[in-house]
Symmetry: C2
Subunit: 399 residues, 2 copies
């Protein structure tokens, strides 16, 4: 199409500054939380779709999907949350969405006006941070330790905000296999955080997208959401990590009135019924064997990454050793700038996510996130070796 | 989940006033633009999905979908627009989305700030009207005749706005088988409208969702978008009407930079890859035979509705006789209020859409929209008969 007409003077204030086009991916791509590719259940998904369609629910595609989404998939989520996360909800409290991202966005849209304060970890999922900023939120990060968000720091920050007359509209947190750190929060810490937010009346959205992918250690504690009996805690998760982001299907568990408000604000015709049928058909029989299979494959990849880091990175660097999830967090010596180094690494064939993109304050430029779920163990070893070479050559590994 | 915690005091200004829950559908449901249900290509969709997945594109589900969406489906859209609509675009100018609705919303979000003026028909698709209002637009409706939007009235309104220093950010229009009227705009009218908007520098989003469903008369004129060589005209359509809304897949054709901005503002991880694969696999061979099949079925339904209206509604009422699409527009005598009558009809088993929901000004309370694509011809005859009885009983058919 011709481009003579100039749209620029007509753009809204919310319009992104730059257009975004398809980008090349690095040969050794550790940048994005992709799913494990060799285990995508291709056969299972289309068998599942066929089964659901044959049960005379196919003509349902002629309708707009029901509010909240395909009932069979919501029922499966209800069973999963009871079995795995200590949560007892009904299907009317589940809303399906286009990945967890749409639901996170819509929860933010329901609560946040420009200038409102929201809370999260010191470093957290960049997609949520972007939505918070789009809606004009003032984002405050809570310092973390090896368990993730610190309860004492949260209490301090909420106290300070309160003394200035500010009450956050929302707290977002990832207690299990946190993105980007990979940290796991203990049951005790979860309880402490629930106590703090209840004292301050701040609603919470718990993001539990990674909890199914466990490689070692104890079963994760129950969801933070299960520790509350007031409805103050909301919960979001996704099929992107155990099946694949291409299915674009996530869910929230929220009190019924909030579910109704999410249905009302989405104005998108409802969640994809075709993808929901394929997932419900497949996962109703095969979810847990599939999770075991995926976890076993990624465990090897995580081990390959940890051993390659030990082999190629000097003691001036530190990294987390996640027991589950997709990511680890690598800290270079002070003074290194992983956003500047990013282009050098990309030219050498390695992709990663600079740590600063996860930070509401823009601090800590010497960190980066590596995803270990997508590449093969052999490619992980190669990629980590090349990455260390690039950083060494650029002088980024010396304290 | 418990509902003790009160979210109400925390809601944003944009939060919908009322939660929305699943609603019962009427026995004779003419209220929503559903697809034809007996022809949903169940077998074709899962065969299509299997074909695309087998061609080693299945592991692609482990990635986030590419910016703009599944390439094979965008290429199919490019070929379709060239063959059917006189439009010559490249795949980089196509962006897939969650139905046409997401794309309409995102085009509005890119252009409209609160208080900006937008233009459309006097009555138009309620989904678009809701998005316009969500983004705070001042919506101006242009009077219509049997061809849809009037060019002379558009020129008058743009002139008046201009004399008050106002230039609309966007014009949205449905030239082919308009929703809710079912009107078809001639080539001459399309040219006249393009001339007016070019004179005033107002960008246009042409919604062409219904054009494939033709029951009589000439092939529709080329898209309004094809009559412009400046990039000022954008185009949106969908697979919802020829396959089913449950697949949630629409597309826009826009200049490349606007495509990049749509990719940037969506922040949703990309269009559903699973549904795109199923559609691309199925439609690459079977699209036109399927469109013929669906059109033949709906033609009978439209005929049933027109003859039932003739049989049961008196000369005090008027209705449109659409040559394609899904909808007709029924005008009762002045004084009737179709929003009040709606509940009476629903109790008697008949659902329709009150005309006023399509009107930016809220005028004309004596009209309603009937969808003829979903119910069987027999149910259409029954439903229209019952509807006339209810209206007669309520005194709404007397002039």
């Amino acid at each position: 199409m011709p481009q003579k007409f100039d749209y620029k003077p007509l753009l809204s204030r919310a319009a992104p500054a730059e257009p975004q086009f398809a980008r090349a991916r690095a040969r050794y791509d550790f940048s994005v939380g992709y799913a494990e590719p060799t285990s995508v259940p291709i056969e299972g998904l289309w068998q599942g779709l066929r089964d659901c369609m044959r049960e005379e629910r196919g003509p349902g595609l002629a309708l707009y999907p029901p509010a909240g989404g395909y009932e069979e998939l919501r029922e499966l989520v209800v069973r999963k949350l009871a079995r795995d996360r200590g949560m007892h909800v009904t299907k009317d409290e589940i809303v399906l969405g286009h990945g967890s991202g749409q639901l996170i966005r819509d929860v933010i849209a329901l609560l946040v006006d420009p200038g409102d304060t929201v809370i999260s970890e010191e470093f957290f999922y960049v997609g949520t941070l972007r939505h918070m900023r789009y809606y004009g939120a003032d984002v405050v990060g809570v310092p973390m330790d090896e368990e993730g968000m610190r309860a004492d720091e949260l209490a301090r920050i909420l106290g300070e905000l309160s003394s200035r007359g500010k009450k956050p509209k929302l707290m977002y947190t990832i207690p299990s296999y946190q993105n980007p750190w990979g940290s796991m929060m203990s049951l005790e810490r979860r309880r402490a955080i629930v106590d703090v937010v209840r004292e301050h009346g701040v609603p919470v959205l718990e993001d539990d997208c990674y909890v199914d992918l466990r490689y070692e250690g104890d079963t994760p504690p129950p969801a933070m959401c299960s520790l509350d009996d007031s409805g103050q805690m909301m919960y979001v998760s996704s099929f992107s990590k155990i099946v694949g982001p291409g299915v674009r299907m996530g869910w929230v568990a929220v009190p019924r009135e909030m579910a109704g408000r999410l249905n009302a604000i989405r104005m998108d015709g409802g969640p994809n019924q075709l993808a929901a049928m394929a997932l419900a058909g497949y996962l109703s029989d095969d979810m847990y064997p599939h999770i075991d299979e995926v976890s076993a494959i990624i465990r090897e990849k995580r081990d390959a990454m940890l051993s390659a880091l030990g082999e190629h990175f000097p003691p001036t660097c530190r990294w987390t050793k996640p027991k589950g999830g997709l990511f680890l967090w690598l800290e270079l010596p002070e003074g290194a700038d992983t956003q500047v180094l990013h282009d050098k690494a990309f030219e050498a064939g390695v992709g990663y996510a600079p740590g600063v993109i996860f930070s509401p304050s823009g601090d800590k430029r010497n960190c980066l996130r590596l995803c270990f779920s997508y590449m093969s163990p052999e490619d992980i070893r190669q990629g980590v070796r090349i990455l260390a070479e690039v950083f060494e050559r650029e002088g980024a590994l010396r304290a």
